[in-house]
Amino acid sequence: MNYEVIVVGGGHAGCEAAASASRKGHKTLLVTGNINNIATMPCNPSIGGSAKGIIVREIDALGGVMGEVADKTLIQMKMLNYAKGPAVKSLRAQADKITYPREMLNLLRKEKNLDIKEGMVEDLIVKDNTVYGVILATGENITSNIVILTTGTYLKSDILIGSTRTRSGPHNEKPSMHLSDNLKKYGFDILRLKTGTPPRIDRSTIDFSKTKREDGDREYYTFSHTNPPVYDIDNQEPCYLIYTTEETKKIINDNLHKSSMYGGLDDITGVGPRYCPSIEDKMVRFSDKEKHQLFLEPESKYYDDIYVQGFSTSMPKDVQEKMVHSLPGLENAKILRYAYAIEYDAIYPTQVKPSLETKVLNNLFTAGQINGTSGYEEAACQGLIAGINATLKLEGKDPLILKRNEAYIGVLIDDLVTKGTKEPYRMLTSRAEYRLLLRHDNSDLRLREYGHEVGLITGDKYNKFLEKKNNIIKLTNELKEQKITVDNEKRRVTTTVYDYLKNPTSNLKEIIKTFNMDLNYRDEVIEEVEIQIKYEGYIKKVQREAEKMLKNEEKQLPVDLDYDKVPNLASEARQKLKEIRPRTVAQAIRISGVNPSDISILLVYLRKYYNE
């Protein structure tokens, strides 16, 4: 039979792509190497984090599934950066590595338009630069209108421990041996990337009295914009904080040459991320630092593995034993799984359009680590966008392209397709120039309407959103009317609540309580209104900056523009423009190596182009 969409890979990107395509009513197939590994978390046992938590909110606002599944299975929840400002607040959940994948699989199995099949995709069916399906290792051909590749770290992956290199996916899973070579054959440029994971320790062998306990927040939160929280605030799993010792440092320095990355292997080509270096990297680069912080995080309520966050390494197993035993509380610890580094293939993301369809093959979409990113949330949001845009293409509609002032997802995809990446790309708040607009609190105001338009947000979810939006307007108007009398620098003044809220230390909930106001709104509405009023000046300033960018975003660059014919372009700019083929003038401006003078020249040339 013919599918409309085939999703290759059952990781976080694949799950979102499969769920969104099938929920939109398109016959979808998810092909994965091992059904039991759908939505597993091969690295840290958490979802969210600074900026990443906002991405999960955005996924939920658009109609994705990660947030809902995380809400149902989390074992600890924290609001990060609570006091650092409205724009940088972000949720992080400790997710249960057993129940999260199980819940996700249940959810996918309920989708009536979705089939799930085990198999290893090794090639694509390609004719005239267009993809028509996939070819499995068994030789089986499955046809489809669209293929979405979400292969994660499974393209020709090698596990590196000390001086050993083993061709394998994470947790001894089979990698795809030929798919990346075949992609190369079709014209993709392939990039080799590297990441790593720390050892897992048997909980019962750790002396927690030597650690510092870190508990979850005492307030309820959800990633979901609609569902109420289901976890028990009094029954959250703690994490534990420890530091490396002098002995750890000595062991690492003495054995540095045995690490895969420092001479253990001499054929390392993969580029690792700067923001999650191995412990040996940290010791080398910050040699004057005496100790490094580590977190002991439970992986699940249902088994005993403790994840040692901050201790990723590619040392041989015997050295890992010594290193682990040098840590306070872990003197007698039993390692259940050794740390490793993993090298894998990805494509240069500048070969992908903002819709996530590739420029090389029509109807082929890519999402997640294959596009050079790192992280569950980064992968999931691309999977969602790829799923949405694949089906919009089937429906003959324009793709959903989120702008940099609308979502972290927009920042992420624009960065990938415009600037490319040389290391696994992780989202950071610092990457978002309009981050004051991209907040945890307003993710639905920014994106729910898009989710509704594409058909993923309907019924109760949409109605609740409309009600919230309406209440925000109502409350704002009421605050403009309501007057209060307060002491202000020894003077009693009467002012509207709206004006009083401009005072940075004011608190709307307290004002409502103190003055006994008859304002019955949900907390999320009160919070939203308060932020909008309190930071109005800054928000407007950022909006003005964003508008400047948007004007250039409206200026389209013709798809067939021949940059070789544009006279006077600097050679670096010409080469970059040819490679990236920006869609708009705004995108061209963001390409590094394209200077303002090149943009002037381009504008002048375009004028001529349109005249002719």
Binding site: A83, E214, S278
Partner: protein, 448 residues
């Protein structure tokens, strides 16, 4: 192309008249803001007489041509201001227009607009494109070089100070659970922000000093009648063979003579009376002298070697203590009657015998800390841009301090610091995020 651009379209300092051209949707509005007459309802292609003013202060007497789109060079609204050709008034008019919302045009930008709006043909435009590409590099270099090497390094240092704070805050935000990285709070950063503000103010002052030199130093000559004011002036004028023009300056002071002294422009102000031989008043006129002192960058105070010092002169000497000044004792060819025991740092001259005039020139150079100044208007223009960016950065820092005092969250404080960092970066041609990210990862140890 939605903004309004402005540039001096004649070579400054050469002709008797300079033309400053505005182009863009707000040309007429901006010109109206600084012109004595409202131009918003004027006919196209008309000329208007009046004054350019900076708030209430009159800067120059001008003719203004209003040309409405589309029958103009750029097919946009154009306003041309014909003002007096001196460097000082031309730059001042430009500055006022910049302050009121116009943006300094890039090289070739008028022509570029003319082409983009279909006013000129391809052949002309291609020539322009060459111009754009050749000139922009030059302009970029210019803007980097305008500030002296020393100042540019100072700005780099300032940015370095700032990025240390910013990247630490960013790390606190992106890696909130890291307890071994110092968490910056408002209380912790306030001392460094205040110190930063002082440094920035110092640079602004220095930059403005250097601009004073490029626009000219306002020099006031004071002294009793017959002490030799007019002969010193004439001696300076003759020696330098400078052209003396009557340039209307501001209402407060009148530039009587412009002397180019080894590349430095001296605008001799308020010399009314110096040459007026009929005005033989015995008194020096402390009040009038004070007015001259207030409106000058430099005061030359002439005493008579041949006469005893008066009470009024003593009073003035005291008032001049905090001022850039040169005490000159004239008529050393005559019998000394002046008691010099209470004077220090004076120059003895005889205008009549042409003794000591060079010493005055050297002293001016020393006081303004200048070597040889190149008369290059391009340098000045970019400099005006740099100074306005410095002011913007200072404003950002002031905002940050206000937010700190208001107990605002650190992200809001940092918002202003980042703006300051970007504004400073624009001066030396360095901007944005990758740089910050590199900084983040090189300064802090982070990882999973």
């Amino acid at each position: 192309m939605n903004d309004t651009i402005v540039a001096i379209s004649t070579t400054t300092g050469v002709g008797a008249i300079s033309i400053i051209r505005l182009s863009g949707p707000e040309s007429i509005e901006i010109a109206s803001k600084v012109f004595t007459k409202d131009l918003s309802n004027t006919e196209s292609h008309t000329i208007h007489y009046g004054h350019i003013k900076d708030k209430e202060e009159i800067i120059d007497e001008v003719l203004v041509s209003v040309m409405r789109a589309p029958k103009t060079f750029t097919r946009e609204d154009i306003v041309e201001i014909n003002c007096h050709g001196g460097v000082a008034p031309t730059n001042k008019v430009l500055e006022v227009l910049l302050k009121n919302g116009a943006r300094l045009a890039e090289p070739g930008e008028f022509t570029k607009r003319a082409f983009l709006n279909g006013r000129i043909d391809l052949l002309e435009a291609e020539a322009t494109m060459d111009l754009i590409s050749s000139k922009t590099d030059k302009a970029r270099k210019m803007s980097i070089n305008t500030l002296t090497g020393e100042t540019s390094n100072l700005i780099k240092e300032l940015r370095d100070d700032l990025v240390g704070i910013i990247s630490n805050i960013e790390v606190n935000i992106d890696y909130p659970e890291y307890e071994d990285i110092e968490v910056l709070t408002n209380e912790k950063i306030i001392p460094s922000i205040k110190l930063f503000k002082e440094k920035l103010e110092d640079i602004i002052k220095k930059s403005e000093d250097s601009r004073v030199i490029k626009e000219g130093i306002k020099v006031g000559i004071i002294g009793r009648p017959n002490v030799g004011k007019s002969s010193l002036l004439n001696s300076l004028l003759e020696e330098e063979k400078a052209i003396v023009t009557d340039i209307p300056g501001t209402t407060r002071d009148i530039v009587e003579g412009t002397i180019v002294l080894g590349g430095i422009i001296l605008n001799i102000i308020d010399t009314a009376g110096i040459r007026d031989t009929r005005d033989v008043v015995e008194k020096l006129g402390v009040e009038k002298s004070m007015h001259i002192i207030d409106s000058s960058d430099l005061v030359i105070f002439i005493l008579n070697n041949n006469e005893e010092i008066t009470e009024e002169e003593k009073e003035l000497l005291q008032k001049l203590e905090d001022k850039k000044r040169i005490i000159v004792i004239n008529k050393i060819d005559l019998e000394p009657k002046l008691d010099k025991s209470n004077l220090n740092n004076y120059i003895e001259i005889s205008v009549k015998d042409n003794i000591g005039i060079d010493k005055i020139k050297d002293e001016i150079k020393r006081l303004f800390n200048i070597g040889i100044i190149e008369a290059n208007d391009m340098t000045y223009l970019s400099n005006a841009r740099s100074i306005s960016l410095l002011h913007k950065a200072l404003k950002n820092i002031e905002e940050a301090i206000i937010e700190i005092n208001n107990n605002s969250p650190i992200d809001i404080v940092e918002f202003n610091l980042k703006d300051a960092w970007n504004n400073l970066g624009e001066i030396i041609g360095e901007t944005y995020t990758e740089e910050l990210l590199d900084e983040l990862f090189s300064r802090f140890c982070l990882g999973k």
